[in-house]
Amino acid sequence: MSKLQSKVPEGPLAEKWTNHKSKINLVSPANKRSIDIIVVGTGLAGASASATLAELGYNVKTFCFQDSPRRAHSIAAQGGINAAKNYQGDGDSTYRLFYDTIKGGDYRSREANVYRLAEVSTNIIDQCVAQGVPFARDYGGLLDNRSFGGVLVSRTFYAKGQTGQQLLLGAYSAMNRQIARGKIKMYNRHEMMDLVVVNGKARGIISRNLVNGEIERHSAHAVVIASGGYGNVFFLSTNAMGSNVSASWKIHKRGAHFCNPCYTQIHPTCIPVSGEHQSKLTLMSESLRNDGRIWVPKRLEDVKAIRSGELKPTDLNENERDYYLERRYPAFGNLVPRDVASRAAKERCDAGFGVNKTGEAVYLDFADAITRYGKEQALVKGQDENDPLLVKKLGQEVVRAKYGNLFQMYEKIVDQNPYETPMMIYPAVHYTMGGVWVDYNLMTSIPGCYAIGEANFSDHGANRLGASALMQGLADGYFVLPYTIGDYLSDDIRTGPISTDTPEFESAEKEVINRIDSFINNKGKNSVDFYHKKLGKIMWDKCGMSRNTKGLKEAMIEIKELREDFYKNVSVPGSSKEFNEQLAKAGRVADFLELGELFAKDALERTESCGGHFREESQTPEGEALRDDKNFSFSSAWEYNGEPSKAKLHKEQLKFEAIEVKTRSYK
């Protein structure tokens, strides 16, 4: 049934990318000057792609909805970026990074893409250092590394807890150089409203200027979608407020398959929800699990006493605490992958051991790390390592140097001092592994339309390992797309400028205007957020950390009903010709209301558990996820067919040539 062409090159795994690069068609420097490319989004993937394509000589038009490309949500990534440099000499290699990523993704990613990712990872670090990205260094002046979940080596490069910021500013600076040269035309505060397809090829977009509401037509020879993930379908997530699925969803409705939407990462260490007013959730970097130990009390009476304030967590001794990750997974302990850590936290909280008022929080405790570092420092400085006050002070200094900004952020939000009392954390929606289906060249099922970074589905399978999102965004943008796009564009060297004065642009523009007018003229009774919150609740309750047939079927019906109610009763104030955030949000929520249903459908049909997708019907007696390789070793690419519930499934079978598919164990 499948007509999906993954276009993975022939040959041994380690040589595929090199061979492919040598054989694909190129566009000459002179011809690049007459080719236009549109890039939507300026996170790591979009910014790095824009800069590189412009350096190569293409005319690039880049769009972002924020007031500056530097604001894209890659900026909020904290912990780090992986690369198989083996600077620590701990046995790392391209193969090991590839293997860890495939295994971490629970054998649901495309092997050749993941190998390529591991292969170019080392170039990324070299490139970023050359751009002046200030990574952490040791006293010898060399780059420092730390360890992340699901791996047994230290391969993560970092810049305190602001790695995403530093990498994005690096890519932004590369863009600025090209903007100054006139090779990138930057459209800030512009939102892509639709894709324009001419004779089966992506040839432009319709955009809306968010300041004055003007609808604009932009043409190009290729369109690159780099607009990130769709975590905000849950309303509460660690995504930025503006993060949305709309660009990906628009191309889906124009013919791009949407793949594995149910693969969503629920990150284990986020600040718990404090009340109904909550607008978003805040992540505490996974790097904290290098030094923090996760626990809940062993006895329910202690839990009750803590909740009522009669007991403090620090009053409980070692024997009264259940370090449940260390207990269940001795080999990886607190550094198990994210999906495993999140489910384990949920399991304890569901059993009644949650430590805050809502019962949805566990402790992340730094007391041991503070003591360990403090003693080390006391020894180094020749001071008394048995003086507990001194040790605590010295240890706190070390922890502050490593995680200072994260601790400060926690204190500002929760109003508790995490140096003195353990942090409270709970899982939250963070990243979406699913996304637009792409082939090996990162092209979607629409010729000339590409998807890169979190917006595509290809590299992380059913679960992403920490510090891999930054790696993928930059790999796609700096080192993959700029090569592969030339193969497609080599057919376009005689095409000349694409006119926007065609029936295709005309009709796409008209549809956009009609949709905007219908929101403004609706004059309903409920705000956009009213619907977004309702959708988020359905998603979290029925498509969240664990899923079952009954809940997913209900979710599909409830989301459809909510969508119908939205179109009848939503109220959007103001006009379409002004700065109108509610109007922009209405369009985004409308798309989430469709995606949510496809998400539930995808989760319903995949009756196995894998990675971030946990089906209650498919688990081992110990409650671990049970994969079904016999029936589900494929990616689910959905073709739009009028309604999300009617989407047509195309299966891309996953073939593993270089590794043996095994049960994923971190015990």
């Binding site: 007031d67 050359a130 002046g132 200030p134 010898g140 407020m241 939000i413």
Partner: protein
């Protein structure tokens, strides 16, 4: 908590603005300032009124998109936070809170509390980069060891989020802290040294053309900077500028 809000309302850049009074009740001390603004907007929408426009995105203090001048201070009364991380527990029941946009000639108001900070982008475009192509053929990242003290200082300068609080806090609307943070980051790293002369001259020239004022060393910018960018960077930029001018 029950509060009175005095908010700057301005329909667009071409129209005059004014302060408008609102009252809001049942504000939780655990809310962030922007969540309080969300709640206020939800009430305005339900009454059929125009919600207050303001910029925001990540809501975790790193994207630099939120602004707001609250009770006479950029990002409000708390230190080392952006408005999105300011929490209502910093206010008392019955308080009156005055909320204005970041004001500077170089930051024209778009609507209400949202301003146009694209001048910052243009300054970065004038020289805030290292001219290296993304070929993947650069030398190994560990080929040039960098003194940890310099690397740390470069990092501290590089943590600027480009929010514009320094400009809004300065009586001269000077952008010296912002510009010097970028100049310093590259001046402290070997990768940035090659272009140091042109960089500082071009960035300062663009800063002046955008209409930012001069620095008179009051230090208000450093106090209000949510990322604690140090005045030391301005001193470094001045020295870089002097050196570049003499070398010229």
């Amino acid at each position: 908590m029950d509060l009175t809000l005095k908010i700057w309302r301005q329909a667009s850049v071409d129209e005059d603005g004014k302060m408008v009074d609102y009252s809001i009740s049942d504000v939780s001390p655990d809310m962030s300032f922007l969540e309080m603004m969300d709640m206020h907007n939800e009430q305005l929408i339900n009454k059929g009124e125009d919600p207050v426009a303001f910029d925001h995105d990540c809501r975790e203090g790193i994207c630099g998109m939120c602004s707001m001048f609250i009770n006479g201070e950029a990002h409000g009364p708390d230190r080392l936070v952006t408005t999105c991380q300011l929490h209502m527990r910093k206010f008392k029941d019955g308080d009156t809170i005055v909320i204005e946009p970041f004001r500077a000639n170089a930051f024209p108001v778009i609507k209400d509390l949202a301003v146009d900070r694209s001048a910052f982008d243009r300054i970065q475009q004038a020289g805030g980069f290292v001219s290296v192509n993304t070929s993947g053929n650069t030398q190994d990242a560990n080929a040039i060891p960098i003194d940890k003290h310099n690397a740390d200082k470069a990092f501290d300068a590089a943590t600027c989020i480009g929010c514009g609080a320094c400009v809004a806090s300065c009586k001269n609307a000077s952008a010296m802290l912002f510009v010097s943070a970028k100049v310093s980051q590259y001046a402290l790293l070997p990768q940035g040294k090659v272009e140091a002369t042109d960089r500082v001259l071009n960035m300062v020239k663009q800063m002046d053309e955008e209409g930012f004022g001069n620095c008179t060393n009051t230090g208000a910018c450093e106090v209000e900077c949510p990322k604690g960018i140090s005045l030391e960077n301005i001193a470094r930029m001045n020295s870089e500028y002097l050196y570049a001018s003499l070398k010229g």
